[in-house]
């Protein structure tokens, strides 16, 4: 056998620069991470977002108050209803109105159903990135059951546009309660199956424990919220800290982690789904009768019968559609707990038909900002699972 010269045996010791994404088969979502690697260890990294920027805020500034709803659906497209609720609550705070008791409970209920759906997607993606394909199929199948239910209620499978300023479009369908209560045990079975497959799995533990760690102090400075912040041990949940809708009347716990690593984030999300199911069950017990929509002559559309049979109704319909309704001048910051954390809407009104400024404080944006720090010093193979555990959703992060 020929003898190689010594210099050929040594691999280059210089750090190498690699582009991960924006369109990479392992990356879910369009994001680019520029990593400098020394062998397999990441020396330095730079996460670059913005590939899904669609000018949400510019579009809102040129829309009427009601026209913003379909755009909010497309922020976090894994849990559209929660975004709609967040925006509706912000405008209602600006108007100084409160929705009907039935609508409050229904919003809470539908929101929690959507939260389960979002966590299912996140866990599915995260487990698949670690090579666990079976949990992915289980979880996505379960999410589809929820989609079917929501489709029945809202008329749309994914982008519902169901909420309105002052309420929601329709009441829920007949038999909704039975269908949801039939579904919840099935969701519980899925979570149990997935946990049994992963939580004590040697490979899963090796790949997630102490990977992508974040300290509580840094997480707070980074503006982290939601399951990511709670995985570090900070028990901050907007639903508990500033109860809105019916969250003040229901009992639920806020699961927290200890270590702030990928494993904790996985566990926190699993535990949160169980709490969401608890909330849904309580919501059905306390669901009052009554209308689901307020009659706000300045901003909400009149009944269809009114529009077609009375001149006042026609004029009101015309004014709301063409001028966009009347919202008093002022500014407001309203935050809600969505699946990824605190979704804040900072609205500025000048009294016109649409927002002067419609700022979205996206939880993903703050969470993803810390990605570089989390993956530095770790292995290249851990970038994608860590990224998955943050649950960065392009639509929300890039707006």
């Amino acid at each position: 056998m020929e003898k190689y010269e010594e210099k050929e045996l040594h691999l280059s010791a210089e750090p190498m620069k690699i582009n991960l994404g924006p369109s990479h088969p392992a990356m879910h979502g369009t994001v680019r991470v520029v990593v400098h690697v020394d062998g397999e260890v990441i020396v330095r990294s730079d996460a670059q977002v913005g590939f899904l920027h669609r000018g949400f805020e510019k579009e809102c500034e040129n829309s009427t108050w009601n026209q913003v709803f379909p755009y909010t659906d497309r922020l976090n497209y894994a849990s559209p209803l929660l975004n709609e609720i967040g925006y509706a609550l912000a405008v209602e705070k600006l108007l100084g109105v409160e929705v009907t008791p039935r609508c409050k409970v229904l919003r809470t209920l539908l929101g929690e159903l959507t939260r389960i759906q979002d966590h299912l997607v996140c866990l599915a993606a995260m487990s698949m990135e670690l090579g666990a394909f079976t949990p992915f199929l289980y979880l996505v199948k379960t999410r589809d059951w929820i989609y079917l239910l929501l489709e029945k209620v809202t008329g749309q499978r994914v982008m519902h546009s169901f909420m309105r300023i002052g309420g929601m479009k329709y009441d829920v369908t007949e038999g909704f309660k039975d269908e949801v209560l039939e579904l919840l045990p099935k969701v519980e079975v899925t979570i149990h199956d997935v946990e049994s497959l992963l939580v004590k799995n040697r490979i899963f533990i090796d790949r997630t424990v102490n990977v992508g760690r974040m300290t509580a102090e840094d997480a707070v400075y980074y503006g982290w919220t939601g399951p990511c912040l709670r995985s570090t041990g900070v028990d901050y949940d907007v639903r508990k800290a500033q109860p809105y809708l019916a969250y003040g009347d229901v009992e639920f716990d806020v699961p927290v982690g200890t270590n702030g690593d990928n494993y904790d984030r996985f566990q926190v999300r699993c535990a949160e789904m169980r709490q969401s199911m608890r909330i849904i069950e309580q919501c059905f017990d306390m669901l009052p009768d009554g209308p689901v929509m307020l009659d706000l002559p300045d901003i909400s559309l009149p009944e269809k019968d009114d529009t077609y049979t009375s001149i006042e109704g026609t004029i009101r319909h015309f004014m709301v559609v063409m001028k966009g309704g009347v919202v008093p001048a002022g500014e407001v910051y309203s935050c809600t707990e969505v699946a990824n954390g605190e979704l804040g809407f900072y609205l500025v009104s000048t009294g016109g038909g649409g927002p002067h400024k419609c700022r979205v404080r996206a939880p993903c944006f703050a969470n993803t900002a810390a990605l570089s720090e989390m993956i530095d010093g770790g292995f290249l193979a851990d970038v994608v699972p860590t990224f998955g555990s943050i649950n960065m959703i392009g639509g929300e992060c890039d707006r």
Partner: protein, 172 residues
């Protein structure tokens, strides 16, 4: 609670304070732009305020005002459970405010976004470059005078191929 915060800011940063209000229960202080960091540092350090949780940073454009860019910061305290909004306005001729990144790591990306969208510069930011748009982008799209219909294509138009239409066309 937050009312106390406003009073404390007024007392501690007397020369920075301009105005305050509490519309819709959101407590707001308006301060001088050059003193912004000082006020935020007070809110961050003071044990009674303890606003360690960074919430949001954005800009509002008021084209009719002389100081048209209003930098809006939302802070939150996890221990005291109160929120505050700090606002400071700067003119278009000199749109510079101090960066709060030395206090809040999370402000890094939010300030980059504000710079990207409005062209407000943050003095002391470690790496102030565009974040959501590409480097060659001209102008700042969330300014009110940026036309909504304007298209900018990252790939130049192929003018040397008259048979081929450009990849993106202006909307009629």
């Amino acid at each position: 609670m937050s009312k106390k915060a406003i009073r404390a800011v007024k007392k501690a940063c007397k020369d920075a304070f301009i105005d305050s209000h509490a519309e819709h229960g959101d407590h707001t202080v308006i301060v001088k732009p050059e003193k912004l960091l000082e006020v935020v540092r007070f809110l961050h350090d003071d044990p009674d305020m303890d606003m360690k949780h960074f919430c949001d940073l954005t800009v509002v454009d008021w084209p009719e005002r002389e100081e048209r860019f209003e930098v809006v910061i939302h802070l939150h305290s996890l221990t005291r459970h109160h929120r505050i909004r700090v606002k400071a306005s700067v003119a278009e001729s000199d749109p510079v405010v101090p960066s709060i990144t030395p206090l809040y790591k999370g402000a890094n990306w939010f300030e980059r976004e504000a710079f990207d969208m409005y062209g407000v510069k943050f003095e002391g930011h470690p790496d102030l470059r565009r974040i959501l748009l590409w480097e060659e982008f001209e102008g700042h799209p969330l300014r009110k005078d940026y036309p909504k219909k304007r298209r900018q294509c990252p790939i130049p138009f192929r003018e040397d191929h008259p048979d081929q239409p450009p990849p993106f066309r202006e909307r009629p």
